[in-house]
């Protein structure tokens, strides 16, 4: 790639308007409050003997912090999420949310299991760098959708980061047997999950009914989609198409494996022109009126969040079940949008092929 082409990709491919970025900021705040926090409250139930941190910040500490540490992180994180929703001190709130997530995860993942939610941690940083605090704010009027956000290159870098991590995952799968026609990797992972008790009803149905060809197709589809991120990232249209397919993929994963990568579709949202499409155009247009209700929304959200932290301390399973339900609903919404986008792309391609 020549320097001029790299320049074009870095500074022109992923131009986003301020209102669209701000829609994702509000959505991120909602998702953080509904689905992400409260978090890590289960850590205090684990034995200290199981604490053996991986390479990272936790190497500096010989024992996990007490439960008050996680409660504090939850309260600070939820306050940051409310500020993101309101559009107040958005840069500071973004930094705080990312720092809280990084710190909490550092200790929660020091017991032998690392969850791959790095996009959740980096999303607020990428959004703030791209300028998601420039519209739909507490004081500012809604922009018309034509104003650009802040810097242009952070979005390009965030796209590349997403492409790299997904392609690495696809690479690992491709070179460890997912493409071997004599082995069914998706089915094997579902079988391995059975003793953990997290197997979904959809997974049991699939295990009972899917023919071998469908299992093989699932293996190939997963690897193909993950690798295609790195191919598509260089052109905006192909990037959006892959992101739309990925929203459907994440929903299918949540149904089959019960693992929710809700933050991935939210992170993909940074590349979508929300201010120009139907579901969110109304929010942008009516923001001056919407923001009048924000103080009430903020107070209710914060009180609800605090109650969930308190409730979570005494009833962790119930809190986990609530989060699972909200994740599935939000992932389903993302999958519907993704599927609609794919249909739109297909229809346009068919029209273009007509003589």
């Amino acid at each position: 790639m020549t320097r001029a082409r790299l320049d074009r990709w870095l500074f022109e491919t992923f131009v986003a308007d301020a209102a669209s970025l701000a829609v994702v900021r509000v959505l991120t705040g909602v998702v953080l409050l509904v689905s992400v926090f409260p978090r890590w409250l289960w850590v205090s139930a684990l034995p200290e003997a199981a604490y053996h941190p991986p390479v990272g910040l936790a190497l500096l500490v010989a024992s996990p912090p007490p439960s008050v540490f996680y409660v504090t992180l939850n309260v600070v994180g939820m306050t940051g999420a409310v500020l993101l929703m309101l559009g107040m001190w958005t840069t500071a709130a973004s930094l705080v949310v990312s720092a809280v997530l990084l710190l909490g995860n550092t200790f929660a993942y020091a017991f032998g299991k690392i969850d791959h939610d790095i996009l959740l941690v980096l999303l607020p940083l990428a959004g703030a760098a791209a300028g998601w605090g420039h519209a739909l704010g507490w004081r500012a009027d809604a922009t018309t959708g034509t104003t650009t956000g802040g810097r242009r290159w952070p979005l390009a870098l965030f796209a590349l980061l997403i492409a790299l991590v997904m392609a690495r995952s696809g690479h690992d799968k491709a070179f460890t047997g997912w493409l071997d026609p004599s082995r069914a990797a998706v089915r094997t992972h579902l079988l391995r999950d059975l003793p953990t008790g997290r197997t979904t009803g959809t997974a049991r149905l699939a295990l009972d009914t899917w023919p071998p060809a469908l299992w093989e197709a699932a293996d190939i589809a997963a690897v193909s989609l993950e690798v295609s991120f790195l191919v598509a990232v260089w052109w905006r249209r192909s990037w959006l198409t892959v992101l739309a397919a990925a929203c459907v993929f994440h929903f299918a994963n949540s149904l089959l494996f019960g693992i929710q990568f809700l933050w991935n579709p939210v992170a993909y949202g940074l590349f979508v022109p929300w201010a120009t499409i139907a579901p969110t155009r109304g929010l942008v247009g009516h923001w001056p009126r919407v923001r009048r209700a924000l103080p009430i929304v903020a107070v209710v959200a914060l009180l609800l969040g605090m109650w969930r932290v308190g409730f979570g301390l005494v009833a962790v399973p119930a809190t986990a079940a609530q989060a699972w339900l909200s994740d599935v609903v939000l992932l389903a919404a993302a999958a519907v949008l993704g599927a609609a986008s794919l249909l739109h792309v297909t229809a346009r391609a068919v029209r273009a092929l007509r003589p």
Binding site: A45, R151, L160, V165, S182, G197, A320
Partner: protein, 180 residues
């Protein structure tokens, strides 16, 4: 110009961190945190029509009145992510962790977390050191039970349909909860 330099520096940094982490993870087999990675879910496994032997660690609790109850670690740690429960239980109670004579390994202090990781990975008595935690956890989760001992065993289930031969279970060790 300043903006352009910043953008290219950030691009170089991103690529450098990504490549370095991927290399370290592939060479050492251990994943750092934070890590620029999504789950790899390594493949292999079984053909689409074959069943699969799956191992699981289970706890047989003996109450003071002589009853024996099987407790799934997922119930003991309800609310904890299931995959974390599996990781914790397998780490604590695997073979070679039940040597009562073992002192806790010496650890250096220049990176306390690293020292504790190395020490615990080599600790041949780690399972026995969980006695106090297990006693407290069982009392919190099952307050109506008075449990005196817990046998930790590994069972193998053939899936699907799910079949288990109890005779094939392997006892990993037994924790007497009344011991100090």
């Amino acid at each position: 110009m300043h903006e352009r330099g910043l953008a290219y520096t950030a691009l170089g940094g991103l690529l450098a961190v990504f490549v370095a982490q991927a290399l370290v993870a592939s060479q050492s087999g251990a994943e750092p945190y934070p890590s620029l990675a999504m789950p790899g879910f390594h493949g292999g496994g079984v053909p689409a029509t074959a069943d699969l032997p799956v191992t699981a660690v289970m706890l047989d609790a003996t109450t003071r009145d002589g009853r024996v109850l099987t407790i799934d670690p997922q119930d003991l740690l309800a609310g904890t992510p299931p995959a974390t429960v599996v990781a914790v239980i397998n780490y604590l109670y695997r073979d070679g962790r039940w040597n009562s004579a073992a002192p806790f390994p010496e650890a250096s202090h220049w990176l306390p977390g690293r020292a504790i990781t190395v020490a615990r990975d080599r600790d041949t008595g780690l399972a026995l050191r969980t006695r106090g935690w297990l006693r407290a956890r069982l009392a919190a989760r099952f307050p109506h039970l008075s449990i005196a001992a817990v046998r930790v065993r590994r069972e193998i289930r053939r899936i699907r349909p799910e079949v288990r031969d109890p005779a094939a279970d392997v006892t990993l060790g037994t924790l007497m909860l009344d011991a100090p």
